[in-house]
């Protein structure tokens, strides 16, 4: 079948225009289209499925409430990513201050014995290792690292999303890598050797 104007899926900008005219079903279509993208980014930044689901829902509610502010001259995904990163960074900041408040009252008496592990990368463990070592990053550093390394976005795109300079993005990336390598050496020496051997 030759595609006609009627059976083509509307693009993001057209959908937004329809939503602005009051069409709720167009919003549902937009949410369905962007759910995986928004949830994946949230999950990689936050590292917890349930929290990421809640934050993703909050992103779409904010999207609904602020759709008037979207300027169609710019890519919709850039605007959406900015919304996601703002909400996720706020969440991480709140969680960090909550965790700090709890941890400041605790004193570690004894840790579990370190298990000896072979120096092979096990895919399922990579995510766990990442969640552990990335906990030392600031929310912004972590967001930039995730967008660059896992979402494969270029520094220029990240800069546009976060509204900062490209050099700032590169600085955050450099510092994030450095901090994570230090943490890897400290907490997962078996994986850290992979870095040392290859450098």
């Amino acid at each position: 079948m030759i595609p006609t104007k009627d059976n083509l899926e509307p693009d993001d900008r057209q959908l937004v225009e329809t939503i602005r005219r009051g069409d709720e079903s167009a919003f549902e279509q937009l949410v369905r289209r962007k759910t995986s993208k928004v949830y994946s980014l949230c999950y990689r930044i936050i590292g917890n499925a349930e929290d990421s689901k809640d934050i993703s829902q909050l992103v779409f509610i904010k999207l609904w409430e602020n759709l008037e502010k979207y300027d169609p001259r710019y890519a919709f995904d850039t605007w959406l990513y900015r919304l996601v990163t703002n909400v996720a960074i706020d969440f991480l900041r709140n969680r960090q201050s909550r965790d700090n408040a709890v941890n400041s009252n605790l004193r570690l008496v004894k840790t579990a014995a370190d298990a000896e592990q072979p120096v092979t990368v096990q895919r399922k463990e990579v995510e766990t290792v990442f969640n552990e070592v990335s906990s030392v990053l600031s929310p912004k550093q972590k967001t930039i690292f995730v967008m660059s390394e896992m979402d494969d976005l270029r520094s220029s795109e990240i800069a546009r999303i976060l509204g900062c300079r490209e050099s700032t993005v590169r600085n955050h990336l450099f510092n994030a890598r450095k901090l994570m390598q230090q943490q890897l050496k400290k907490r997962f020496p078996e994986y850290s050797r992979l870095w040392e051997e290859s450098r």
Binding site: T35, S56, F130
Partner: protein, 166 residues
Amino acid sequence: MISCQTFRANLRPGTDNAEVLEHLRHCDACLNAAVDVDPDMFFRAIGGDNLVPPGGVDAFVGDVMAQVRSRQTESAAEPPSVFSNMRRLAIAATVAAAVSTGLIVSNQRPVQKPASVQAAVLRPAVTKPVIETYESKNATIVEVPSEAKDDVQVVMIFDESLPADL
């Protein structure tokens, strides 16, 4: 998806080649080789596929739409504002002044503790330790510092070998 041979031939440090990255994220055998070429591949392996929220996309979209509708209903049900902004400010200032005056007056009165509270303060707290000693190689033990000498000593034990219903 490209073959392992093609992947290894095209693998370069810091690559943004979509085919290479797709292979990296699906092939366990090539992950070790990739880390030898570029250590950042270790974490780049996490990305790739778009994830689905717990419960599935349909349930997620349903939840979002339900929240949007309930917010719409809430905003539609809100009564129109009776007072202008200036009038609201004036009312807020009056209430604040009344509360502060009340606080000043109540602070000047002598405070008398009820009898039951005084009795409770005098009674020393008596507690028994639930666990006196704990030995395990796999446990992580965290001690919550007590504020006063007579406070109950709280110790948290994280041990996967303990039965869940303990």
